[in-house]
Structures are given as structure tokens and as C-alpha cells.
Symmetry: D2
Subunit: 421 residues, 4 copies
């Protein structure tokens, strides 16, 4: 199911979207690995060359850094097309964690850092990773528990700590690592981000974590920092501002996950529609059976509302980044849950084929299951959403909005009421 476009996209983006769609359907889908398998490195490199030739590579990166320069408010239709194949975003070089890293580097890095780290990333020459999550009780759903430290030394910093779930770390050229730092000079205590090449002495990829997904290149291993020295130029942005930058990264990064996986949900939904067209049950094609219709229509609603809240959030991220970041919690919860439901229903419509590798749906289901957990679990976001709602309302009332929470009370009866009154 292709997304209708309420906002007339600029003509060149309509054209780009069409080219992405064609590229995905004609070039990428035929090259997909079997369900449960990963895309071989070689396949990715070959497909990336074809993507460049087709003019669909790195659509979101700025033109000055080697991308196609699509503005954030129009990423969604493009990313959804890319995500229609689970390897599409990787082929188009708009997959996590690289895509989020590109966005953050474009916002924060120095010209030298951009040249050294960002541009090869945009060109697809290297991969990267983002080192924030740590083993319990360190940074996880609660980033402020950050335990890795960086201590200033002569001419640089020394980083010590352990990270885990570092997606893409295996084979990455560098890591953007978060570490706790003390206040220094003008800089507050807090977290600092460092650009750390993976061949720096003291960095070591640790034990792997085998998760159920298959389409993020480079695994999700532990990553050890043992007395890792980095020079001052490795600091990304200003010291002590790491948590703020993480938000800069996370708002859009959460939303681009929504966009990509929504594309995959559309793929699953189409697969189910096709199966329902062909398969008969009780003498009728499945798509005419009421209980299947109930699943199909619920999925359409999930897809369209996800598309709508993504569009709304993307626009807010541009016009009011703070409000957009808050709204990205809403979008992330709604989309991650909705996308999972859509794929789950597609499995159900396809019956036994849905849970076998004759169709890729069970792998899609496994692929998006973690999305309800990473980038802030559903429950963590719900908690944040609720707190924000309460405090926003408190401020409205303090600013003069009528307080609505006091029940009115009926007057007391003048005499004892009679039974049955």
C-alpha cells in the first residue's frame, strides 16, 4: 500500500520517491537474503553502487556532504519507500545507526570532523556506531545513569567503561561515545561525546548479543573502553553537553525508525493482501471473510495513523524542535506498537505460511519486536508522556486556564429524604 501524500511534495521529491520505489521493487527486493539470513557485506556494497547510479543514495544527507538533501519534513515518504525492503535503508545508506549519526554530525561537528568522519559515512565508505547504552546499572532506558567516564589528561581525554547493545559496532570505522565528565572551565559536569576511531588502542569489541533482528549491519556487541586516549579534537561539540546532543540525535532518530519500519509494515500488509486474494477458505477468498476484513482494516488504520503522526512530528521537529522531540515520544510509541500489530496481523492472515520461512513475515515480526524496546521502551516513553502532560496542564492552569477538577456538590436535603428517592 503506497502512502497517499496529503502535502503535495515538491515535484522533484515526487520524482525521487518514484525512483526509490522502482529501485526497491526492481533491484533490491530480488536481492533480499532468505528470511533469517543477513545481507552479505558484498551484496550491500554492490547494491549501494547501484543505488548511487540510480540517484537514490543517502537521500537525507545534505548535498554539501554528499547526500541528496531532502529536508527532514519530507523524509518520511522516501524512507517508507526504502523500508519497503528490510535491506533497503542499508542499501540507500539511510539506516540506523549511521543515519542518526550523520544527522548529529551535520548539526554539531567541526568542519574538520565533518570532512574526516561525516563525509566518508555519507559516501558509504565506512560505517559508524553510537556508544551510549551500558550494562546495568549504567545508562539504558535511563541515560542519566551513565557510568563510562572520560578524564581530561594532557592534550586529550582518557575513556574507561563498558558499553553494550552497540549496534553496528562490528566493522564500524568509529564510535561516537558518550562518557561522564566533570565540570571543567566553562563546561558543566555531565556527559561528553567523543569521536573515537575503532582502531584506537584500548577499544575492544566484547561479547556479542544475539538479538532477533537481522537487518542492522554490524551486530549489537559489548564494547570496552580501557584507558582509551583520544585527543581534544575528538570531542564532539562542547564538553558536558552530551545529554542535550543525545536528544538532538534521538528525536529524529526515533522518527526515522518509525518511517523505515512503517515501510516494512506496508510490505507485510501488501503480502497479506496478496495472500488473502489468492487463498480460499470455506469457499471464499480470504479477503471476503469478515474476520480477515477485521484484521485488514485495523492494519490500514494503524498504517495511516502512523503515517499521520510521523508527518506531524517531522514538521514539528523543523518548526519547534523541543516540541518535536516531545512529540517524537508519542510517535515512537504509537508507530512501534502499530507497526508490530500490522505485521502480526499479516502473519495471522497468511496462516501457517506466516510462521514459516516460506514468507518473510515471521522475520519481519522478529525484526520490529526490539523496536518497542530500543530508543526508549514503550513504557519509558509512556511515563515521560504522562509527566509532560501533567506539567503542561499545570502550567496552563497557573497561566489562567479554568481549573476543571473540582466536583460540584448538590445541596443537602432540607428534611430526611424518603426511601426510593
Amino acid at each position: 500500500m503506497a502512502a497517499p501524500s496529503p502535502h503535495p511534495l515538491p515535484a522533484e521529491l515526487v520524482d525521487l520517491r518514484e525512483r526509490v520505489r522502482t529501485f526497491i521493487r526492481e533491484t533490491v527486493i530480488p536481492a533480499e537474503p532468505a528470511p533469517g539470513d543477513r545481507m552479505p557485506e558484498q551484496t550491500r556494497l554492490e547494491l549501494q553502487e547501484k543505488a548511487k547510479a540510480a540517484g537514490v543514495f543517502a537521500p537525507h544527507a545534505r548535498a554539501e556532504h554528499g547526500g541528496l538533501g531532502v529536508p527532514l519534513e519530507h523524509w518520511s515518504p522516501i524512507f517508507q519507500e526504502a523500508g519497503y525492503s528490510p535491506i533497503g535503508p542499508s542499501v540507500l545508506n539511510c539506516m540506523a545507526p549511521d543515519e542518526g549519526n550523520m544527522h548529529m554530525l551535520a548539526e554539531i561537528a567541526t568542519p574538520e570532523q565533518k570532512e574526516r568522519f561525516l563525509e566518508p559515512l555519507v559516501r558509504g565508505e565506512v560505517r559508524s556506531c553510537f556508544g551510549m547504552t551500558e550494562p546495568h546499572p549504567g545508562a539504558g532506558s535511563d541515560p542519566s545513569a551513565l557510568a563510562t567516564t572520560a578524564v581530561p589528561v594532557n592534550g586529550g581525554w582518557v575513556i574507561n567503561g563498558e558499553k553494550r547493545f552497540i549496534s553496528g559496532a562490528i566493522g564500524a570505522a568509529y564510535c561516537i561515545a558518550m562518557a561522564r565528565t566533570e565540570a571543567t572551565g566553562d563546561h558543566p559536569a555531565g556527559a561528553t561525546m567523543f569521536l573515537v576511531p575503532m582502531d584506537t588502542p584500548g577499544i575492544r569489541v566484547g561479547s556479542p548479543i544475539h538479538t532477533v533482528d537481522r537487518y542492522i549491519d554490524g551486530g549489537h556487541p559489548h564494547l570496552h573502553f580501557d584507558d582509551v586516549f583520544v585527543p581534544d579534537e575528538a570531542v564532539l561539540g562542547a564538553p558536558g553537553e552530551g545529554f542535550r546532543y543525545a536528544q538532538v540525535r534521538l528525536g529524529p532518530a526515533r522518527l526515522t525508525h518509525c518511517m523505515r519500519w512503517l515501510g516494512l509494515a506496508r510490505r507485510a500488509h501488501d503480502t497479506a493482501l496478496d495472500r488473502a486474494e489468492q487463498r480460499e477458505l470455506f469457499g471464499e477468498p480470504v479477503h471476503r471473510l469478515g474476520l480477515a476484513q477485521s484484521l485488514i482494516s485495523a492494519s490500514v488504520i494503524d498504517i495511516e495513523t502512523s503515517d499521520a503522526i510521523i508527518a506531524k512530528t517531522a514538521q514539528l521537529l523543523v518548526s519547534d524542535p523541543k516540541a518535536g522531540s516531545a512529540m517524537s515520544s508519542v510517535a515512537k510509541v504509537h508507530c512501534s506498537e502499530a507497526i508490530y500489530r500490522v505485521i502480526d496481523r499479516a502473519v495471522q492472515i497468511c496462516g501457517g505460511d506466516g510462521v514459516s520461512d516460506g514468507l518473510p513475515l515471521a522475520q519481519y515480526l522478529a525484526e520490529v519486536r526490539p523496536f518497542r524496546i530500543y530508543d526508549g521502551s514503550t513504557e519509558t516513553h509512556l511515563w515521560a508522556i504522562s509527566r509532560r502532560a501533567s506539567s503542561a496542564r499545570r502550567r496552563e492552569v497557573e497561566a489562567g486556564a479554568p481549573f476543571l477538577g473540582t466536583p460540584t456538590r448538590h445541596p443537602e436535603p432540607e428534611a430526611a429524604p424518603e426511601a426510593g428517592a
Copy 2:
């Protein structure tokens, strides 16, 4: 909770929205009837005068007909503000069924019809009703079952039939009545719409239907047409085109219901937030209890996704009315169910006060319960959504999209496999 505005509204609409908000909070809310009561006619007329004075009356109607001329794609923020009070839309003259009738008359009526029927309606001098639904087995969820007939006679038509659930009929100045007509001349057989003054001989308001809502003026009675003669000028648009016009009316009419009731859902949500701020349980304010946070955050998501799908649908109704009308099914189901859930959760957060008339929430719940049924029940829309999804996908595949519904099959084993394989 006020809606953040991703699309920067034009400055004059930001200003209008602010004025509507102020008018509702300062003038309308203090005049609301007690829960379960209706707004007296006199109150409505007085408040409407104040709305005119405040420059917030008939915001959606075209300026040439006496309205404020807000374009359809921007109705939502204005209607949500109006709907923050259950009597707000009636006071601002943007309540069903008049608002939908205004829209349809503006699109279809002749200049004479506009002058005689539309303009007094926009000015709030009269009310109107829309006569489509009939007793079983006539037109209901399935409009094509229309049983009322209109037969051409010399200089006009004679209408016979019975309608029911004719919202607003009591006290209305005229009815836009749907009747089945035979093919005549160039006009196909089908349904025809007629503008019928309620004092026409043969029209009779029949037995009332007492429903649980309170804020649509004029009840939902039966309406009888016994040999009602109307002249040819009473035909609205072209004979035989009634079903098509009904769609013209219904797409936006469904969506404006969503807008208004979403405003009421925001009111309920604010009420719950205020109660949760004040009320303590187990030694903590309710808003800090996890189970209440779970309700609050779920309501935020329902509100924001409803707002987003309304915005998307409104834009589509402008840019591609056919796609917009189809999307209005999605919006209607999502919003009507979501709005009901939001108010239901607000009741829950307020505990015993939520189900008493000390707070208006139980009445709000009763008010929006029918919305899941009228304008096409949730189930009818789900059925339509599913059928449209199946046929749209069928067309995509016929146009060359890869068919995804065929499971691949593993090759047969060369020899009998061993146990445990």
C-alpha cells in the same frame, strides 16, 4: 491540552483560534447546562449573539454567505477549540447537522437556493435537518436501501416515506430530504435531494427517539412524508445524483464531528489531569501513580494521533476529494474510538466523581457513544476500509507491482530425513 500546530497557521487564523479559545473559556463554559440537561433555546440565541460580537461565529462558512471563511484544511484547530465546550459548536453555529448542510449547499445549491436556504442558516436565523436515515429495512448503515420515493408530477414532485433519527428536525426550518427517483430524461435512476420547508403540507414530525446525547439541538425524531408536494425548484443539484452528493456532505461532515468531539476529549483529559493533580491516593497525588500515568499517556497518544489523522484527511479532502473521502473512514473510526477511550479514561481517573454529575464526564461519555454508530458505524467503515484496501492492492499488482503472496517452498530432501532433523 491545547493542540500544538505543526503547520504554522496563517497569522489571522492563529488570532481567530485564540479568540475562539478565550470566548469558549470565558463566555461559553460558565453558561453550560448541568450534566444531563440541554441548553435552553434562549441561552443558545444569547450566546450566538455574543459569538457574533466576538467575531467567532460561523467560522467555516464562506464569507460571501456570511461566515468567517476559514478554509477546510484549517477547520480542525478552530473546531477543536469550539468543541472544548459541548455547547460551543452550537453557539458558534458550526454544529451538526447544520454545518454539513451549509457545506453541501455551498457546493451544490443554486444562487436562489443559497439566498433562501443557506444564508439564513449561516446567520443562525434558522436550523435545518438532513433526511436520509429510515426505519429498517430502509436506508441506514447501508444508504442504498433507500425506501422513500419521489415521483415527478406536473411542476414538481410528490414525496412519500418515513425517516428516522432525523437529528435537529424538531424546530428546523427545512429538511434536505433524500428520496429514490426513477430515471428521467438525462438523469439516471437513483436518489435525489430535495429542499423541503418543514411547514410543507404532509410533513409531520413523528415519534421521538430518546438517545443518550444532549447537545444536538432539535432531537432525533421520526419524520413522515405523506404525499408531500414540492416544486421543481426544490431539487438540490441534479436528479439522480443524491448518493453522490451525500458523499460530498459526508466526507467533511464525518471529519468535523471528529474535530468537535476531539475538542471535548481534550476537555475531559484536562479535567482528569486537574483531578489527578488535586486528588491523593496512597499518600501521593494521583498523577504520580503509575497506573494513572498509564491512562494519561494512552490518552495523549489517542489525542495526538486523532489530531494528526484529521489534519491529513482535511488536506486530502482539499487536494483529492475522492481519496479524502476514503480517508475520512479511517479518520472517523480512529477518532470516534479514540475519543471515547479518552473520555472513558478520564472517568476512570476521576473515580466516583467521574460517574456522578459532580463532573460532566459521564455525560460526555454518553455524548460521544453514539458517534461510534452514526455517520457510518465503526464496523461499517471497517468493512469499507478493508474492501478498498483489497481492491487498491489488486490494482497495484495488475499495474505491475510484484505479487508477494506466494510462499516459497524448500526443495524436497534427496533421501528420507532422519528423526530430529
Copy 3:
């Protein structure tokens, strides 16, 4: 839909159930008030006489106190039959709050108290009420916040405080009132229950609370205790044991609510099935439409699982009252939510008639809405259920059950893994 009986009821109870069913269908249903109206006192008294004549009166009360002596584990099928009419339980004298009071008095009262208070209640000569809930910040979802006090004086006690939501208070002969008491002699500080005739000086029925339900006789008003003197014989059970007795009352009382309202849910479901049989849509009877089938089957599952968890809990309340009381939280949440959904779906299946008073469904919906709040709101029970689950598991692990919460970790790679691994 009548409940199938997995446990072969003793023959005399099969017979009783059949008589209750017949009595409700032939005698009670024809006498039901119109939707939204209350049963007049006179009607209740007349129907109660007929119930006595039919041998179906006070089925749950012990024979020695004037009841039919059905044991608790078999109440459910009888109460469900009674609840098939919303006035049935009142007619059979097994309605809240009297039924719960009878149960507690039978367990705790002295012979003199039984003769004076319990027996007239069982015979239907008087009604009673239970005075626990108080205005915020007193006893509500959190009973331990009890603010009403009783102070020992010469020969008795003096009670002061305000209660609210005292169901049945108007017209009741006496109130079982909870008040906070200090430690005295052997008795700990805590709550004490008192049997207080409603004509005792100082008791005053206060402002009414108008809730959306209609079938609990005697309203839900505030109740004031201003220096109310009661003699020592008014103490029910032992001083300081009130919270424990409240649990004795609440476990079964919660469950009998489930039984009665489940009967009403069956009524709503039957109403919907009958409507679906008669009503046609798109050329088919509604019950053949898939989306209606989806609603019907979901309701069957809700009804059968509610019946099953009630049976399980009733048996536990007999064999292990503490476990039964804990399980009653599970039953209460599941049943109250399920019953509400069943009636809500019935409304939906009946379309416009479902939200009008042409059918009683909208009133049924209003009737059971408060049940999700009273006797412990859904959220309060969920919180308690979660805490009990966590501590029960903690005890299991402490007692030697294997601890399952430690993730295993893969060994570290010997050398740096390659990209794509």
C-alpha cells in the same frame, strides 16, 4: 445465553436455578421500569412477595436466618439468573449492599445482633447500608485513610465524621459504619464497625450524589455523623478489627457484583443476538456479517472467561479465603472490564437503537460503568495484583525456586570480529 454448568450442580440447585430463570423471565422482566427510570418502592415490595411465593427469595442467605441456604460456591449460576434483569437481584433480595451485609453479619454478628439486624434484612423487611467511603482525603480507594472517629464513652461510643457514596442509605433501617478507634484494652488501634440505626440522633443523610446507575435502591448520598452515641452492643465483632472484617465482606461482595452484572451482560448479549437475527444490512442478516461476528465472538469469550474466573474464585473463597480474597481482585478487574465490553458491543450491534431508550442497552452500559470504579477501581486492583505477584515470586525464589532473571552472556571473541559477523 444461559451458562453451561461444568460442575453438575446438586439436583435441588438445578431446580432452583430453573425456577429463578422462569421467575425472572415471566414475572420480573415484564415489570421492569423504562430505561433510565428507577423501580418504584411499591413494585419492589410486590415483586418480592411473588419471589417468596416462587421460592426464590434470598437464595444466598442461610436457612437459619430465613434464606434458601445456597452455599457460596454455587451462588454464581443463581445470581447470574437473577441479574438477567437489572431489578432481579433487588427483587430476590440478593442485591448490594444488603447481600454483602447479610454475609458479614452471618459471619460476625452476635445472636442478638443477628435477630435484630440480620433476620429482618433477610426477610426483606428493611434495607441497610455500609458506611466506609469518605470524602477526600478520607477512606476511598485507599481504605486506610479512614477519617471518621469513634471515641469510647461511658456505656458506648461517640461517632463523628462524614461518609459519602453510601449506597442504599436513603430509606435504610441501619448503617454498618466504619470508624477509626484507638487501642483499648486488648484491642488494637484500627477501625471498628458499628451497627447504627438510621434514626439514631446525630445521623443525617446529606447531599445526594447523582450517578449514572439506576438499580441500586436508596441512592448514594453523603452521610453525616455528628456526635452519634451508640451503646457497646452496637460494636460488630471486635473493636480494632474493622479493616479485617471489611475484607471478609469485600471478597465475596466484589464477586457477587461480578455474578449479577454478568447476568446483565448475558441479557445484553441476547438482546444483540436477537437484533442481529432480525436486522438486515447490505442484504444479509447482521449476524452473518463478519464484523458483527467479530463482536459477538469477542463477547462470548468475555462471558465464558468471566464465568470461569468467578467459579474459580468462589471455590477458593471457600477452600482458602485469603487466596480467594486475593483472587477476587483478579476476578473483579477481569469481569468488570469484560462485562462493560460485552454491553458496549451489544450497543454497537444494535446501532442507533442501542443508544436510544428503545432498547435498554445504553442504561445497562451506564449501570455497569461505575462497577469499574467501586469496590476498588480497576487501577487500584491492578496495582495490588502486581505487588502480590512480585512478593509471591520473591518468596518462591527465597524458598529455593531457581532464579530466572539473569541473562547469560556469550564469551568474548578471541580476536576482533570482522564486519558483517
Copy 4:
């Protein structure tokens, strides 16, 4: 979480349950394969010997056939204990498809067939499979579409056809195969069951189907019957009665799946409780966070209601098999969906560990996903449940129950009502 037992189990079964629990926790759990791996044949055989030694082997089979003879109404607590390990049922020889085959053979087979086929199966010497499902458009969710045929020849029958999803076929000693047969003599046309040794000429295990589950031994391959001759003694029961026998098998077989997987859901729930005890977030153990409590309590309700509906259905299967079989649809839908939700919530509570193989939860989720599809998909059962509910109610009304589906209508007003009425 161990199941409380409302029905005091007979003392010897309390003892058996305790032994099963101990055996599973002390002997089976330590031998479990890593998540995603299958149990090696050798491990199974060794563990089965230990199960025999512990007196917990084949608990459900009749003593005369070599089992422990637990009656059907008490299987649930035993099977839940077995299912607490995903390999437990296989180790105890009460896993599908063998367990269902044992039940059917005990009911239908001749003494010779029992000796040859049933007893070695009970002793764990062989495995079996059940050959009903076929490729589209043959027998699947709709068994009546059976396409495999058996034609009578001299001294026996010749079977031709293709089966698929034949769980356990690889390594099985025999297949109970369903084939379409014509009417012969006294026997009606319909389906007939045959006991077919897997080494019969013409039987061939075809292409495998790789599904996401791991704990059913013997795969789910296609199975080909090419001119397979079987003698008359291979007929199981009477010719033409196959569909009826399939119901004999399916009612309990569906329910034992519920029992086993409910045990696994308890395991997942305990795992989550343990993780929530240990893991901290925002400075508190996870089990004290409201959003986690919300997940935990929802799972408790799912577990307890599943347990209750299983108990109710098991009792009905004994006292009224036809009603029990119908109720098994309700139990199957409720339990399969509830069990999936419980495991899904456990994944969520465990965060990143929940979707990695550091904990087995993701594999459990994959394991029970197909259960919502096999043995009749949720949607197929919903459809059947709805149809049964409609026809049961129709019969009630025909038998004299009051018809409830006719809305009452208010009288018409005497004069035209005024506006606002």
C-alpha cells in the same frame, strides 16, 4: 507463578504435581538447549528415562496402556508443570502430536491396534504424526476441503494425496492419515482415518517447512502418499467417520496445548518478575514502576483467566463432550492470545535482554506465535463461536425465551413539537 488449586486435587495428584514440578526444575531445566536450538534426540531419550524413574512419565495415558492414568479433568495442573520447561512435555511424553494421538487411539482403536500402535507410543519407544492438513486448496482451517483420497481395493485401500505441516513426521513410526472416502456399505461418504506405518511403500517425507518454533520434535514437513496400499486393519474406527474422530481428537488436543503453553507463560512471567526484582531504572527496582506493574498485573489476569477457562472446559469435556468441544474453541482463542501476550509482556519487562538470547523469552514468543494459527486459527474459531452463539440463541427463542430484539417506540406527538423539545 504456581497455580493455586481451587479444586482440591486428590492427594495422589497433589503428590504427582509436586514431583513433576521438582523434576522439571531440578532435572529438565538444567538440560534445556540454548534459545533457538532444538533438543537433541539423545537428550530426549536420556531425560525420558529419568522421567520414568521419577514416576512422572506419560501422566495422561491410561494405566492399562502404560501411563499414569490421570483423568482428563486433572490434566491441567500436571501439564502446566510440564510446560514450565519448553522441552518438559516432550520429556514427559505428553507433547503434541503424540499426546492427542494417544487420546484418540485409546478411544477408538481396536485391541490389536492399541497393542501395535498405542502402547509403544505411550512407552516412548516411537513417535507418531497426524496427517490431516494439506496444501491449498485442500484441508486447512477448513477440514472439509480434504483432497487426499482412499479408494477401496481388494483387501485394503489405496491412498493418494499430499499433506503438509505434518508435525513430527520426520522420524515418526506411523501416521494417522485422513483421506476422503466414498460411501460403502453402511458407511457414509466422508473422511476415513488410517494407521499407516511410515515405512509403507509410497509414503515419502517431502519438502520441509521451517517454522519459528523449536520444541515439537520431527519438523512440520510435507508428506506424500503415492498409491500407498494399506490393509483393511489399518482403518481406525469406522470408515466415513473421520471428521467426527478428528473432533474427538481436536477438542482435548487444543486444550492440552493451552495447558502446556500456559506453563510456559508462567515461566516467562516468573522470568520477568525475577528480572524486575533485580533490574533498577530511574533509581527504583523495575517492579515498583507503575508502567511495569501495569504489565505484570495484566499478565496475572491473563494467566488466571486462562487457567480458569481451561479447568471449565476440561470438566465439560468429561461431563458433556459436545459442549466441551464447543467450549474448547473459546478456551483455545483466549489462551493462545493470552499466553502470547504474557510472553510478549515478559519480553518488554526484560528490555534488551528480552529480545536477545541471553534470556529464552524471544524464543518462547516465537514458540507460541504459531499456536494462534494451528489447531484452528483465532479467526476461524471466532467465526465458529459466533455462529454457534447465534444458533443457540435462535433455538432458545424458538423454545420460548422472550425475544429481546424489538425496540420499543415512543408514541407520536399529538401536535408538532416545538424547537428544543
